[in-house]
């Protein structure tokens, strides 16, 4: 089918109307010629022979009558070996290469090949005559820490027979390594690179499974109280300055997954710079290699064009699904999904659609649901397992969780980590409000015991609010003990000292051990004479527990510190 052409008939912000000849497809990519540059854009609506395009660049200088070429293809990314360690913009342009070409600024209309055409050591795993379907892999190449599977494009229909396949050895990524043919006689030449539309979820697996294995973040309040499962979804809403991004950075460093994809969507460029400078120097404790080796960054910061921001989360999730299909656990961190929703709102406004709540489009909820539903744990055809876990931050206007994006997100995620201004102002880190938040996943500790600990937190909180009215004098000794126990959980377990190298990231074993001691303390009855006595006891116990928290497992003092905690409270037990 020959590609259609057209010309501009109108410009409104980043939306351009185009009259076209021939056939066009909704969500097809077109290029608008402005002088010598061609601006990438996507058809988002077709009415009465006019296609409305959202332009992924600034629209200054476009005039009525400018030529438009359509490509006949949906907005796509290139998938293949060499994605890891890279930094892309929302449309998969590698930013360092762009910088080499254009210097300090992001000049519009400049697009760079996302994957370098370098040589990879290819090993075929299928032979001529084998039958393959979409998603099967016919060869592998080593990519950093992983064996990268070279797969049959996910969009192909039906069964195909391998006509020829390259032998073991070095091949360039753009070179044809496999030729396949179907029953109708259509022949396809496959290279190591697949072009995949970003808004189409990648299939090619046997079945989807229930996420049941915890994804360890080394943050106690998450792993113990509000767990996230591999293949699950969670969201982190919070007002500005509550530490959403800090929490995500720590998760991206410590999560026990194979690949981490960071989608910096509409946030500060400075935050991405921190990752860019820090990650290459940090070592992944699991592999001993630089953290960058397992990381891909998609960076469409707040001042970059809005339409590309909308695309960036899809670009990121498509890459996540691709690595999932190699049997890897992938974590996608999107910061922030509110900016993505705002990008949708801007386009919806230009299309003059009837607005919903706070002018967000009516399809906001289904788009958010569609995005989070691309997470999941799957069993692949060869019996191995892979997963995509999605964690998104939400930046609610005014810090009010009642707004549409937060509410739409809460409907579809499996865990909710709400950050509170009170906790962050009080310098309590992490600022997750454990009483408001929830998780539907199973964590590293028995559910029954966690619930018991929760009940102390909840009752402690009730006593605290009661005490504000009746004062300490009006509170019974028993209630006061419960209050102190609630505070105790918060200060020694929920909070972590992010500056302390030991306390900042806590292993599963250590969490289990610390929790068992905490559990023991909570369920002990102590004999106290008065409230002063209670306060003094818990202050001392807290100090000892915190000292133990900051002592590493392999430190000879660790055992001693633990004993100091145990002996102190066991003595006072009734």
């Amino acid at each position: 089918m020959p590609s259609a052409r057209g010309h501009v008939t109108g410009v409104n912000g980043n939306m351009v109307n185009v009259a076209f000849e021939g056939q066009v497809i909704k969500n097809e990519v077109g290029f608008i010629s402005v002088g010598d540059t061609k601006l990438k854009s996507e058809i988002i609506r077709i009415t009465d022979g006019i296609a409305s395009l959202q332009v992924y660049e600034m629209t200054g200088g476009i005039k009525v009558g400018d030529d438009v070429e359509f490509t006949g293809e949906l907005l796509s990314v290139e998938l293949g070996p060499g994605l890891l360690t890279q930094v892309f913009d929302g449309l998969q342009n590698p930013l360092p290469e762009l910088a080499e070409k254009c210097g300090f600024f992001l000049e519009r209309g400049v697009y760079v090949d996302p994957l370098p055409d370098r040589e990879w050591d290819f090993t075929p795993v299928k032979s001529v005559g084998d039958t393959v379907i979409a998603g099967d892999y016919f060869g592998t190449v080593p990519e950093g820490l992983f064996t990268h599977r070279i797969m049959v494009p996910f969009t192909l229909q039906g069964e195909w027979r391998i006509k020829s396949i390259a032998g073991k050895g070095l091949h360039r990524s753009h070179e044809t390594v496999c030729t396949i043919e179907n029953q109708r006689g259509d022949v396809k030449e496959l290279s190591m690179i697949i072009t995949q539309p970003v808004k189409v979820a990648i299939g090619g697996y046997e079945e989807r499974l229930l996420p049941n294995e915890p994804m360890v973040t080394r943050i106690r309040v998450i792993d113990t109280f509000l767990p996230v499962a591999k293949g699950g979804t969670y969201c982190t809403p919070g007002p500005f300055g509550a530490g959403k991004t800090v929490l995500q950075h720590l998760t991206s460093k410590n999560a026990d997954v194979d690949v981490v994809i960071i989608a910096a969507c509409g946030e500060r460029a400075g935050e991405v710079v921190e990752i860019l400078k820090e990650f290459p120097e940090l070592l992944d404790p699991r592999t001993g290699k630089s953290l960058m080796e397992r990381t891909i960054i998609i960076c469409n910061t707040s001042s970059m064009p809005v339409a590309a921001r909308e695309a960036s989360v899809y670009t990121a999730v498509t890459m996540a699904e691709y690595y999932r299909n190699m049997g890897l656990d992938v974590l996608l961190l999107a910061d922030s999904t509110s900016r993505w929703a705002q990008a949708m709102r801007e386009m919806s406004g230009r299309l003059e659609e009837i607005p919903g709540d706070e002018a967000f489009p009516a399809y906001l909820e289904s788009r958010i649901a569609g995005f989070y539903e691309r997470a999941g744990k799957v069993r692949l055809r060869d019996g191995s397992y892979g997963s995509v876990t999605i964690g998104g931050t939400v930046s609610p206007a005014g810090g009010n969780f009642e707004e549409p994006v937060t509410q739409a997100t809460l409907k579809v995620v499996g865990a909710f980590h709400g950050l509170s201004r009170e906790r962050s102002d009080a310098r309590k880190y992490p600022a997750i409000d454990s009483l408001d938040s929830w998780s539907k996943y199973t964590g590293i500790i028995e559910k029954k015991k966690v619930d018991e600990a929760y009940s102390f937190l909840r009752r402690g909180n009730e006593v605290a609010s009661m005490m504000k009215v009746v004062g300490e004098e009006g509170t019974s000794l028993d209630d006061y003990v419960i209050y102190q126990k609630g505070e105790f959980i918060d200060s020694v377990y929920l909070q972590q000292n992010s500056f302390d190298p030991v306390d900042a990231m806590v292993s599963v074993e250590r969490q289990k051990l610390a929790f068992s001691v905490l559990y023991d303390i909570l369920n002990s009855d102590f004999s106290f004479t008065d409230k002063k006595d209670v306060r003094a006891f818990f202050n001392e116990l807290r100090q000892r527990f915190l000292d133990w928290n900051s002592t590493a497992d392999d430190d000879p003092k660790a055992e001693e510190r633990k004993k100091e905690v145990l002996s102190y409270f066991q003595e006072r037990r009734k």
């Binding site: 921190e274 960076c299 970059m304 705002q342 406004g349 206007a397």
Partner: protein, 432 residues
């Protein structure tokens, strides 16, 4: 492209439409009315119908007035000649100097490639202890001053403009009272800082459209100076007026409002301005300090709320001084480790004690008995406010730190301050 059109089809608010061909989006247009010649720019194209936003406003425009398309986008002249000059929101001289027409540069240019950014590492000294000591301003930072009407935020900006150790100051005034404009001009001229200052001033009585252009003009010029190796500080006051002007424009254009009448792209609009703050490797830097007045002292109002998500911290100006609580410079830890060994610890200790002073103050106002400790805190608080918090204090960082130690020494015993012993040994004032 110099054809003149004389049939204006509609005039709605500040937006006029004409029928013309070959017009490019965002191009500059000259509109000649009975009141003289002014400018407009193209904001929407629909077939041969061109919508123009008239800088001087639609008032007094006749359907028979002439419109000439200049074929270039909005630009501003850039050269050393800008220094010491004052312009309006359309880039025309507001002082008696000549119009500058050489070396025109585009405004609202592309954003900086994130991979070319570097970690901010240089402190900007302002001589104001509440900034230098407690929430250090860092080169390439973007920081708003959250305040309310009536607070001396313009006085604060003027002090920073006079005292800070940068090469060039670009002041963007939006919706300024004429008195405030004169105040800025007089203060800067008197202090001699005018020779390194460029002012783009939109006063409250000027046309709304020009208000929306001020940040772009100021930042385009600042960016150029930075690329030429200068350390530039951009002061923007008041960004709430800018947002209100954007709101007015959006509503005129029949855009669907999102929150309290503000357009849905408010976040992107603000971000594309604030993100111009940058440190160019091997060249200069742009630092942005803006004023955001909070209507009704409400930080959840869309303007301060969106600003807070974009910027790297905020200063709260309340009761005539920068609040020690709530104010935050997110980048301060990048620089305050290298200033003086006592900087961080002293900062923390003094803030903790000040918080304790506030508690004592509350206790006293409720009529409770004052202990010895409370009395010490009350003395400390009063000294702290007088010697460090007062906006008229102008001392370098080192002197401010020494002053901090003197205040502590005159109120407390060393072990009451919670400071590390080695610091006390080095810095605690010996004579008494």
């Amino acid at each position: 492209m110099q054809k003149v059109y004389t049939k204006i089809e509609s005039i709605v608010g500040n937006v006029i439409t004409v029928r013309a061909e070959g017009v490019r989006n965002q191009d500059l247009v000259e509109v000649t009315t009975s009141q003289g010649t002014g400018y407009a720019n193209v904001i929407k194209l629909d077939g041969d119908k061109v919508s123009l936003q008239v800088f001087k406003g639609g008032q007094g425009v006749s359907t028979g007035d002439s419109v000439r398309f200049l074929g270039v986008p909005m630009r501003v002249s850039y050269s050393e000649d800008l220094l010491g000059r004052v312009f309006d929101g359309a880039g025309k001289p507001r002082d008696n100097g000549p119009e500058l027409e050489g070396n025109m540069i585009d405004i609202g240019g592309p954003s900086v490639n994130p991979s070319k950014r570097i970690m901010p590492k240089n402190m900007i000294r302002t001589g104001i202890p509440m900034i230098d000591v407690f929430n250090t301003l860092v080169e390439s930072q973007k920081l708003p001053i959250f305040s309310v009407s009536g607070e001396p935020y313009n006085e604060l900006l003027a002090r920073i403009a006079m005292q800070s150790d940068v090469d060039i100051i670009v002041l963007g005034g939006m919706g300024l009272k004429y008195d405030d404009y004169l105040f800025f001009r007089n203060v800067l001229e008197k202090s001699g800082a005018m020779s390194r200052t460029i002012m783009f001033i939109h006063t409250a009585s000027d046309p709304t459209v020009e208000c929306t252009l001020v940040p772009d003009l100021a930042l385009a010029v600042a960016e150029r100076f930075a690329l030429d190796g200068k350390r530039v500080l951009v002061l923007l006051t008041d960004m709430t007026n800018f947002c209100d002007a954007e709101k007015e424009m959006a509503i005129t254009m029949d855009q669907v409002p999102s929150n309290r009448g503000y357009p849905g792209d408010l976040y992107s609009t603000l971000a594309s301005r604030y993100e111009k703050a940058v440190d160019f490797e091997g060249a200069g830097s742009v630092t942005i300090l803006g004023v955001t007045t909070m209507p009704g002292d409400d930080v959840t109002h869309p303007v301060p709320d969106n600003t807070g998500y974009i910027t790297e911290g905020q200063y709260y100006l309340r009761g005539g001084h920068i609040e020690p609580f709530g104010s935050l410079s997110r980048l301060k830890q990048n620089v305050n480790k290298d200033t003086r060994s006592d900087h961080r610890s002293l900062m923390d200790a003094m803030i903790k004690l000040y918080a304790a002073y506030k508690d004592s103050l509350e206790k006293r106002s409720m009529g409770f008995m004052m202990t010895d400790w409370d009395e010490k805190l009350l003395k400390y608080g009063a000294l702290f406010e007088e010697k460090l918090m007062d906006l008229s204090v102008n001392i370098p960082l080192e002197e401010a730190l020494d002053e901090g130690w003197r205040i502590l020494a005159s109120c407390f015993e060393p072990n009451e301050t919670g400071l590390r012993s080695d610091l006390i040994e080095t810095y605690w004032p010996k004579e008494k």
